[in-house]
Homo-oligomer: 188 residues x 2
């Protein structure tokens, strides 16, 4: 999606193998931009009879809200468990964090998704794919259908997108970064 790529070029900050987009996507949110991104996503998946958008806290929530608004369906966000005990009646999975070198439990209340749901996963970044695989595990536990995976920025030089596509999932990324050259971002 051209608008997003242009914005990443202008306002994204390269930091090692990361691109920092806190000024418009995951700390401050440019509402007009994510609204246009959501319309683009809607056009891509509009025939799919999606019943729910699923994301994971926190940085997927703003984008997920706008995507859910386009489809006219609820947003569900998986919660990271911070309490010592897990909530009752929940689908629980473990997600590995590359950044913090640990794993953490993530859950969705079992009354929020069911076997009749056709779910679109939305997230801001795709790198190793750990969060997305966790959400897929939850969808499978609920016996619901996964229609597709909508990512704002995919890091094409990491394995998540490649593995998910090899597994047969419909991954739709609005911008794919293949690497950096002389301080410039190379888009696919």
């Amino acid at each position: 999606m051209k608008d997003l790529k242009d914005r990443i070029k202008i306002d994204g900050k390269i930091d090692g193998d990361k691109v920092l987009v806190g000024s418009f996507l995951n700390h401050q949110i440019d509402i007009d931009l994510i609204s246009d991104m959501a319309k683009n996503t809607y056009n891509h998946f509009k025939e799919e009879k999606i019943t729910k958008v699923l994301t994971i806290e926190s940085s997927g929530i703003a984008i997920g809200t706008m995507v859910a608004k386009e489809f006219g369906v609820p947003l569900v966000f998986a919660k990271k468990n911070k309490a010592s005990t897990l909530p009752p009646n929940a689908y629980v999975t473990e997600v590995a964090s590359f950044t913090y070198q640990n794993t953490y439990p993530v859950y969705v209340s079992s009354d929020l998704i069911n076997k009749d749901d056709r779910i679109l996963i939305v997230d801001d970044f795709l790198a190793q794919g750990n969060a997305v695989y966790g959400l897929i595990d939850i969808i499978n536990q609920a016996d619901a259908s996964l229609v597709g995976i909508n990512i704002a920025i995919e890091k094409g030089f990491q394995n998540g997108g490649r593995n998910l596509r090899a597994d047969g999932y419909n991954v739709y990324s609005l911008a794919i970064i293949d690497g950096y050259e002389d301080g410039e971002i190379i888009f696919r």
Copy 2:
């Protein structure tokens, strides 16, 4: 706001002194409902020349996104610091968590708000007011102006709303719960 109160009565679950609204407000999000809530909030504050909406991750983000969309301004969400070191160039404050009986650092990058900003704070719940007071501290560090505080559900039987109003802040809550009687919610 009648629609929100009705929904709390129908789908809220009373659990001790808490009301659980995960089925429509902070785990699953009813987009039509929060869109109507945001329109109500816009009508209340539309003369105030708001330049930014400020919330705190995670459960304020969906509501904050819709409010920011109504005002046509960016959303900023304060981040809970999970790393061992704080990010550079950030306004940092400590927020006490009643639920987890500890305090945690919260920050906003210092390039995201400044002295010319007129800020509306948005959050899903107001109880003791700890999160809101933390956001106010950040706004003060940035020398920005706080225009008002928009809360979805205020627990009127706790001190947050009372203290904030006594301190002179413009608190606009869409539903205020004064207590529970025979398993029914008493709204103010």
